[in-house]
């Protein structure tokens, strides 16, 4: 009885896999496999700038084609040095935040002057995601992990992503979901090394605007977050100005010919 209690509290993702193995061993079918996501967040974009990393996304979570939740915070601070942004199944993102909370708590309790940096957290997440994928029960997310930590060569910026199948990489600018198709081309053309915070925000807003126009699951309420050596700051949500005064929108039936 005592031993079970030990096992259960041994760490988040162990407990999850244990319950599944117990189910399978009990002769039941493979239950609790994630087959499709239900409540999903859309794109997250991030880029490195002079003082650290900037990350932005909208605050919406869709339930299929319904824009069900409109004030969802999809970027969170992790430990002292990182930010995580998640798109995809929101409940899986919440579970990932819980794992990270356990991880950072035990890191904090060592009280030895060290703390987990973005590279370490990205590595941990990659292991979690890939192992779940191998069990055919993925956490249905694409995660962006960005941060800055002081290293031997000064402040070292880090930006990486990992998705539900365990694919992971590092880059100077990253996007998830539709951002891959709509934002990355803009970032590839306009990103430069050592942009100031204002320049970085302008570039990010340019991408967010395109996403707002073209991605049906995005809403006009965004949050920008930054992480520097001073810590993480997640700014309050705000909206972007949009323009709909195109001539074609004014008289949409004008060009329509025939019975179609």
């Amino acid at each position: 009885m005592e031993e079970q209690k030990w096992d259960q509290s041994m760490g988040g993702f162990n407990a999850a896999s244990r319950s599944q193995m117990a189910e399978a061993a009990a002769g039941g079918e493979e239950s609790q496999r994630t087959l499709y996501p239900y409540v999903t967040g859309t794109s997250v974009i991030a880029l490195k700038y002079k003082d650290g990393v900037i990350m932005a996304c909208d605050t919406g979570a869709s339930y299929g084609s319904t824009l069900r939740y409109k004030s969802v915070e999809r970027i969170k601070a992790v430990g002292k040095h990182s930010l995580i942004g998640g798109s995809g199944e929101f409940s899986d993102f919440q579970e990932i935040l819980r794992y990270l909370d356990e991880l950072t708590l035990s890191d904090h309790m060592w009280d030895d002057g060290n703390s987990l940096g973005p590279k370490e957290i990205h590595s941990y997440l990659t292991r979690v995601m890939y192992n779940r994928r191998n069990k055919f029960d993925p956490l249905w997310n694409a995660l962006i992990l960005g941060g800055v930590k002081m290293g031997p060569k000064g402040a070292e910026k880090y930006l990486g992503m990992v998705n539900m199948i365990g694919t992971h990489f590092e880059e100077n600018h990253i996007a998830t979901g539709f951002g891959n198709h709509l934002a990355i081309p803009i970032l590839r053309a306009e990103w430069r090394e050592d942009m100031t915070f204002e320049e970085a925000v302008k570039l990010v807003e340019k991408c967010l605007l395109v996403l707002l126009y073209r991605d049906r699951s995005s809403i006009n309420k965004f949050q920008v977050a930054k992480i520097t050596t001073e810590g993480a700051t997640i700014y309050p949500p705000y909206s972007l100005k949009t323009f709909w005064g195109f001539s074609h929108f004014e008289n949409p039936a004008q060009g329509a010919v025939g019975s179609w």
């Binding site: 005592e2 209690k5 259960q8 509290s9 356990e102 708590l105 035990s106 904090h108 309790m109 009280d111």
Partner: protein
């Protein structure tokens, strides 16, 4: 004080004719022979201090921590067998983590003390387990304010304003009683704890010791942490000075 069990002391599951469990009492002796551990509840938090007896000059300073964090808001100072203490800390950490997982909020200090005490008591109920040879002082800060608990090897625990374990506990308790704890801030408290520990340290019997101090207070954002180095040095200096003053008499 020490009485021979003679036959009733072989197992923790045996009572003596006068209703004592000798194994638990022997476990308490292990605690009584260890370095002094002191905990006080100040008006804005808790201060924990340990007289860490250094057995070898080769030991690195800051190693062999005797005060451990159990969660962000609590710390555990261990007196007695250090390895047993680690086991208790590990259990406390896992209790705190599982409580938060289930109830969604950090464990209250009272609940944590209760769980640690139950665990310590558990090990006095079976013949195949031996009692823990350590006593712990648990300090935490939750929404009921700062609280201090002491758990003995028998599994008994009480809430305290000030508590001490180990060799110098009698002298330490006398010193603590002289303090006006309800008016003391933690900043002042760390100096007092340092003075007490330096005061009860027996220069003749044990040579070197290292002072380990930790606190949970408003100043530390209600998080358990080692006392910052500059304050620690100040406290040590004040304690040394007080000791020299006493010796000068």
């Amino acid at each position: 004080m020490s009485s021979i069990g003679t036959g009733y002391d072989l197992s923790v599951t045996t009572f003596s004719p006068d209703g004592r469990v000798f194994q638990v009492e022997y476990a308490t002796k292990a605690v009584d022979n260890s370095g002094t551990v002191v905990g006080i509840k100040c008006k804005d938090g808790i201060v924990l201090g340990v007289e860490k007896l250094v057995t070898s000059k080769m030991m690195l300073e800051g190693s062999n921590r005797r005060i451990h964090s159990v969660h962000r808001h609590s710390g555990l100072a261990v007196a007695g067998l250090a390895a047993d203490g680690r086991q208790i800390v590990s259990r406390a950490k896992s209790e705190a983590a599982s409580y938060e997982k289930v109830y969604g909020e950090p464990i209250s200090v009272k609940e944590l003390a209760d769980r640690v005490a139950s665990y310590v008591h558990l090990c006095t109920l079976y013949w195949w387990l031996r009692p823990f040879g350590c006593g712990v002082i648990l300090g935490g800060y939750d929404r009921d304010g700062p609280q201090l608990y002491m758990i003995e090897p028998s599994g008994v625990f009480h809430k305290y304003f000030g508590a001490a374990l180990g060799k110098g506990r009698q002298a330490a308790k006398t010193e603590i009683e002289k303090l006006k704890l309800s008016e003391l801030t933690c900043r002042e408290g760390i100096v007092e704890v340092a003075k007490i520990i330096y005061g009860v340290h027996d220069e003749a019997k044990d040579k070197a010791f290292e002072l380990e101090l930790s606190w949970i207070c408003d100043e530390s954002n209600r998080q358990h942490q080692k006392v910052p180095n500059d304050l620690l040095e100040q406290a040590k200096a004040a304690a040394q000075a007080a000791l020299e003053e006493m010796d000068a008499d």
